[in-house]
Amino acid sequence: MLHHTPDEISERHALKVNPAKTCQPIGAMYAALGVHGCLPHSHGSQGCCSYHRSHLTRHYKEPVMASTSSFTEGASVFGGGPNLRQSLKTIFQVYNPDIVAVHTTCLSETIGDDLPSIIKSAVEDKTVPEGKHVIHCNTPSYVGSHVTGYSNMAAGIVKCLCEKDETESKRINVIPGFTDPSDMRKIKGMLKEMKADFIMFPDTSGVLDTPQTAEYKMYPDGGAKISDIMRAGGSSLSLCLGKWSSEAAGVELEKKCSVPFRVLDLPIGVLATDRFVEAVSQELGLPVPKSIRDERGKLVDMLTDYQQYLYKKKVAIFGDPDTVIPMTEFLLSAGMMPKHIITGTPGKAFEKRIDSMMKEHGHDYEYNCSNSADLFYLHQLIKKEPVDLLIGNTYGKYIAAEENIPFVRFGFPILDRVGHSHFPKAGYMGGMHFISGVINTLLDKMDRETPEDMTMELVA
């Protein structure tokens, strides 16, 4: 289908072709799902809500619930205040969540609906029943990307829920970046293994990776508890795992509750996981348990066993900054050569970080790195300088097919494969899972293309 892509790279300013990002509200919806008992609410046209739910459902293979203000022509002329008030009434009457997380859309943002005062009056006149919460954030679709929306909702959660508490405690807040429930579960698992006292939010594990129980739960058992989030204001440190998606929440926690924060990468790959484990160990004065050291050892064992298949292999990778950055580092650790590294999310800091990472690894080869890029551009880069492997979301499959490149799915969204909700890429074990996918995909292609009398050795 991509035979329409010309070889020559064309200068483009006015448009995106085959985007590598989507808009803010879906990120806000996803972050809100990481709060237990929360119904995300989309303040805009009903199409937005429908699209976000469909997209998230396709990626997570789970029902995704969210309500909408169902804007009409009238609302977009006279303001959406009445729609939001009616929405809150309907929601608490019928769906009875513990908390509603309202985000805006380009429409309500541009007509200038004032969420805080609409919500305030709904609380005052008891449209919002006592003991229930309504939180909010602004997510103009024409700023940033879906990652920005996640970040804004994570910060909104802090703004609306966290309470200052000056009693001394040795506890960390962990604010994971926009990543799958499998990763969030893995991060929690490592913290538990270390016996850390922690509060993690948003947390979509147990919400978007639920077991078959024969019961349809509108609010699944998982998600960060409101009472825990409130207590996050009394922690001693916040670890923001991802500059793009989590730093804003850390900043907000510092501003509101004087909790200092550190920005780390999502623990993907050996080095980023090392840094995460060290940071937790350091802050809480906890030793790294043998189980975690063993996991690290197994990952390193796998990397060394298969280094000959990874070394100097050229890779193109695309996705969100907070996952692409540590993944690029992981590829470098494995001896691979990231050649084209792009994100659809805007922000020069992406290139800067990749550049400094390349320098740290002592690389002097030519590579392409862009923020705010799209897959049409990536395809042209690949046509010009072919690679041995492509890593990215579902939409990469068209490039992979057109250019016959082995392809490993990674990031958001993955609409056409299963497993990412359950098998993490985070932590040492997640690294093993991911890199075995890479190795097996490369070997599959070699096997396929090697004449039968020269098949791969059975033991590599």
Binding site: K16, C23, C49, S50, S70, T90, V94, S141, T213, A214
Partner: protein
């Protein structure tokens, strides 16, 4: 039966008793509901996008383009420009200063690079608010680039998908009549309202060809701009699907005096009936056409009936629920399920009209629940209480069905198996059969409890 129905929605849900029931519909969704409905843009986008040699540019923030990128399996036998995603990716400064310049530049670049036969420019919510003059930009680019550049007035907030269908028809209608209708047989049709999911329109074209009917334009599955430009030369329009292209047929009737027939290619009865009415329409020109059609239906049925009968034996007495976008599809599905021995206990749609629901009340069995613009809470309640075995719906309904231990058939745009035509009916029967009889259900806690209930009944009895 107590169900969680919103008070305000009471008259949008009825239980069929005597077939004279009416369902309140075409209402705006209640604010705050977890509605399964989409927007105007979505409606326009899905109708127009299968036109494969046109450029489809979405003027708005990136999301509208991202979520609709290649979401339907609308196949093309040639160019695939429709499967790319083009967006002006409006940013904050465009919202403040206007996006017209950007739109112009985007069109200029894309038309130069891809040489499309026409360009459709979709308006989104935000464009309606910031007031970009889409019409003016399109007129200017039409002149400059010498191809039709057509604005689609599909601002999301102006209604639901239905209004989007109308905007799409208006956009297409600007093309109709601009080509030369030469060398077209008097026995000729346009196929409206089929999107060539999984190659379905090719099945229908093949039947028509065997009947000696020429197809002038596919609207819009595997569609081509030049075909649409000359489609006013066809003698008849065949319109499938409730709302999507009916307006276009009406416009063509008014302006070009082309009659239209409403057809459905789903299920044996409706597929055969559709071919017979076409034959009947042309029987005064082609004396043999009715016989050819009878032969065609006979041959096709001989191929599929033995297996369908077998499937029917195994599915007899099972219950189905249907929730689809347009009600028209539901009519055919009710009949198709009956054909494989199953009864439909719940049927609903996002955008059905009063007329649609009257028809549904007429053709369904007593006790069937009929709903308009439903939501997950209602649907899951009905599924459990009615003891549904298989649910037919779209992407948002699938995980709900699975969580409840109910089989599922994707009858929406994501389907990869052709369900139209006689072969399609066999595929449908197979898919339902596979989903219902799959051994995985025996692990499902909901099924286990059903089995336990049954065995305890036996003990007590």
């Amino acid at each position: 039966m107590t169900l969680s129905i919103l008070k305000e929605r009471k008259d949008q849900v009825v239980e069929r008793i005597n077939g004279n029931e009416t369902v309140s519909c075409s209402r705006e969704s209640l604010a705050g509901a977890v509605s399964q409905r989409a927007c105007v843009f979505c409606g326009s986008r899905v109708v127009l996008y299968p036109i494969a040699d046109a450029l489809h540019l979405i003027h708005g923030p990136i999301g509208c383009a991202a979520y609709t990128w290649d979401i339907r399996g609308a196949l093309s036998s040639g160019p695939e420009l429709h499967r790319l995603s083009f967006s002006t990716d409006l940013r904050e400064r465009d919202i403040i200063f206007g996006g017209e310049k950007k739109l112009e530049a985007a069109l200029d670049e894309l038309i130069t690079r891809h040489n499309p036969k026409a360009a459709f420019v979709y308006s989104t919510c935000i464009v309606g608010i910031i007031g970009d003059d889409l019409g003016a930009v399109c007129r200017k680019m039409t002149e400059l680039k010498k191809i039709p550049v057509i604005p689609v007035q599909s601002e999301g907030f102006k209604g639901s998908k239905r209004e989007g269908y109308f905007a799409a028809c208006k956009a297409m209608f600007t093309l109709v009549g601009t080509g030369k209708p030469e060398n077209i047989s008097p026995v000729s049709v346009n196929i409206l309202g089929d999107f060539n999911l999984a190659g379905e329109i090719w099945i229908i074209r093949d039947y028509l060809k065997k009947m000696g009917v020429e197809v002038v334009a596919n609207i819009t599955g595997d569609g081509r701009v030049d075909d649409i430009r000359r489609c006013h030369g066809a003698a008849l329009n065949l319109v499938q699907c409730s709302g999507a292209t009916l307006d276009l047929a009406k416009m063509m009737k008014e302006k070009f005096n082309i009659p239209f027939l409403r057809v459905s290619y789903l299920g044996i009865e409706d597929m055969a009936e559709s071919l017979y009415i076409v034959a009947d329409h042309f029987s005064h020109i082609d004396k043999d056409i009715e016989e050819k059609t009878r032969q065609l239906v006979k041959t096709e049925l001989e191929q599929i009936m033995p297996e369908i009968k077998k499937i029917r034996e195994e599915l007899n007495g099972k219950k189905a629920a249907i929730y689809v976008g347009g009600a028209f599809k539901a009519f055919s599905l009710v009949k198709a399920f009956r054909r494989i021995g199953m009864s439909v206990v719940l049927v609903g749609s996002q955008t059905g009209t009063d007329e649609d629901y009257r028809e549904l009340a007429k053709i369904t069995d007593p006790g069937t629940v009929i709903v308009d613009d439903s939501n997950p809470r209602e649907l899951s309640d009905f599924i459990v209480k009615k003891g549904v075995d298989v649910f037919v719906g779209g992407v948002k309904e699938r995980p709900i069905a699975y969580k409840l231990g109910v089989a599922f058939c994707d009858h929406n745009h994501e389907r990869k198996i052709a369900l139209e035509g006689f072969t399609g009916m066999l595929n449908f029967a197979r898919e339902i059969h596979n989903s219902v009889t799959s051994p995985v259900w025996k692990f499902h806690p909901a099924r286990l409890s059903r089995v336990e209930e049954k065995s305890s009944e036996v003990c007590c009895g």
